[in-house]
């Protein structure tokens, strides 16, 4: 089991001292090498799920297991990536990719080698000495993926990594991420707003309800070419899956 949530509830104390239940009694499992997407309305606790997996906050109740270890804080199993690339503007690309390795006692020359290998995998060879401001948004996200993969995490967490990009860059980047991820065989949890993105990229989709978020549906995507969303895109089943999620999100009722 790569990732497991056991009856996890997370409450926040708001500024006014009230309790806000972000996610309520969530349980799910992600198998090794599986690509699972989480979709749900804004504010339903998707990013909270990610932060708890990364060990940035503890659940109020319940337990999170990563690679059969109880998550008690930031740990080496998990690499995460957000909508913002979070590259350090004062470091060139290769040093940015090395950033995650520095606190883990990896020797300097090995850091450089691993970073260069990841950059190559993410098609950024030749840009290692550029600074983030010299790269396009899509390239910066690929650099962020290279940094995430450089620490060799067992699980990759992606929080809407494509949502700040234009439609074309998004398609190309989804394709390149999917290729890289299936090549490395990483277990992946993708958080997204984009229903078709979820269908194109995942093996399985978890649909969350409005806040407090709970899992309302689990949809297995039975389509080939997970490693190449551009090929999945032309399949007629894709819109059926999207319609199914749409129904679970009860978007029609809300539109009235």
């Amino acid at each position: 089991m790569a990732l497991e949530f056991r009856s996890v509830t997370k409450e926040f104390t708001t500024g006014t001292g009230q309790n806000l239940v972000a996610v309520n009694d969530i349980s799910f499992r992600v198998n090794e090498g599986e690509f699972v997407s989480v979709v749900g309305p804004s504010g339903c606790g998707k990013s909270t799920i990610l932060s708890m997996t990364a060990g940035l906050y503890q659940p109020t109740r319940g337990e999170v297991f990563v690679s059969d270890d109880l998550v008690g804080g930031p740990n080496a199993h998990v690499g995460f990536m957000l909508q913002k690339d979070l590259l350090l503007p004062w470091r060139d690309i290769v040093s940015n990719v090395e950033f995650g390795l520095e606190a883990r006692g990896v020797a300097k020359s090995e850091r450089r080698d691993r970073a260069m290998a990841e950059l190559k995998r993410c098609q950024l060879s030749g840009f290692e000495n550029h600074y983030p401001y010299q790269l396009s948004g899509g390239m910066r996200q690929r650099a962020a993926l290279a940094r995430t993969l450089a620490i060799k995490p067992e699980i990759v967490l992606l929080d809407e990594p494509f949502s700040a990009l234009d439609a074309q860059t998004k398609l190309l980047l989804q394709n390149s991420f999917a290729g890289t991820i299936s090549q490395t065989g990483k277990t992946t949890l993708l958080i997204t707003h984009d229903l078709s993105e979820a269908v194109l990229m995942s093996d399985r989709i978890l649909v969350l309800s409005e806040r407090p978020g709970t899992v309302v549906a689990e949809i297995k995507v039975d389509l080939p070419h997970r490693e190449e969303p551009l090929r999945r895109r032309v399949m007629p089943e894709v819109s059926d899956y999207a319609a199914q999620i749409f129904k679970h999100l009860k978007l029609e009722e809300k539109a009235i």
């Binding site: 932060s51 990364a54 060990g55 940035l56 930031p74 740990n75 080496a76 998990v78 690499g79 995460f80 957000l82 913002k84 979070l86 350090l88 503007p89 004062w90 470091r91 950033f99 995650g100 520095e102 606190a103 883990r104 600074y131 983030p132 401001y133 620490i151």
Partner: protein, 270 residues
């Protein structure tokens, strides 16, 4: 990307031209002001002890060099400006970072910081003279005090606005508290620190000058009060010009350092 590499070289020429043009225009303006200064006051019958001409000032400058030990006074002022600036900004930065790391102490101390920031620091000069006597301590203290706050406030402000997600990323990578400070917070706040230092450098000259005006017998500030006492306007003008030069040099050095340190910030294209 490859196509773009040639572009800066082509763009460099017009940029050089505009740079030269602005320089020439600045120089022309300076010449104009100097000419007006030289010829307008005599033409309007303004007496020399009110507004001396440029040549009067230059002659006085030469006299001061020979008779008043101008070089020594200038170097003394420059030394205390740099020293006060260095000590004050170091203290401001260190305390700014410490408070930035402790929300508790920041909250406890912030009203006092605000009060001290508003208090006119130069007004402390007579007090410092009472406490420490007519030596270089009072002017150094005034300078340190005046330099301290803009640096402290800028650093503190920047520490408060460091990207939380960046800090979380560093935490997820198992960086220690100290590691997060060194590798994320400190570099994130550098632009603000540099801006604070730039403001502080202009204030440092004011601090030293006030210190020297109020007490002591060295420095350009002393020459100003001495020249003023003798109704020697040319002497006062000369001292002011030299003080400005000192401040300007310090500021220029800082801008150069800033350009180096913050090279990674995208520059606005002309």
């Amino acid at each position: 990307m490859e196509a773009g590499a040639g572009a800066p070289a082509k763009a460099a020429k017009p940029a050089m031209n505009t740079q030269r043009n602005t320089f020439l225009a600045s120089m022309a303006l300076l010449a104009l002001v100097l000419l007006a200064w030289q010829f307008l006051p005599p033409a309007l019958d303004v007496p020399k002890f009110i507004i001396p001409t440029v040549t009067d000032c230059l002659a006085e400058m030469k006299r001061m060099w020979v008779q008043e030990g101008l070089l020594g006074h200038t170097l003394s002022t420059a030394l205390y400006t740099v020293l006060g600036f260095a000590i004050g900004s170091l203290l401001g930065a260190v305390i700014g970072y410490l408070l930035g790391m402790s929300e508790f102490w920041e909250k406890v101390l912030s009203p006092y910081i605000l009060a001290l920031q508003i208090a006119p620091k130069v007004a402390f000069a007579p007090l410092f003279i009472m406490w420490f006597g007519y030596n270089s301590m009072p002017k150094l203290l005034v300078t340190v005090l005046i330099v301290f706050f803009p640096v402290l406030v800028n650093v503190l402000q920047a520490m408060r606005t460091v990207d939380r997600d960046l800090v979380n990323l560093a935490r997820a990578y198992n960086l220690s508290r100290w590691g997060i400070f060194l590798k994320v917070e400190m570099p994130s706040t550098l632009p603000n620190l540099m801006a604070g230092l730039r403001i502080a450098s202009t204030l440092a000259v004011i601090g030293v000058t006030v210190g020297e005006l109020v007490g002591g017998n060295t420095g350009l500030g002393f020459l100003i009060s001495y020249g003023g006492g003798q109704a020697n306007a040319a002497m006062v003008f000369d001292a002011i010009v030299l003080l400005t030069v000192i401040g300007f040099l310090l500021y220029t050095v800082l801008v150069r350092i800033e350009e180096r340190v913050l090279h990674y910030l995208p520059k606005a294209q002309q």
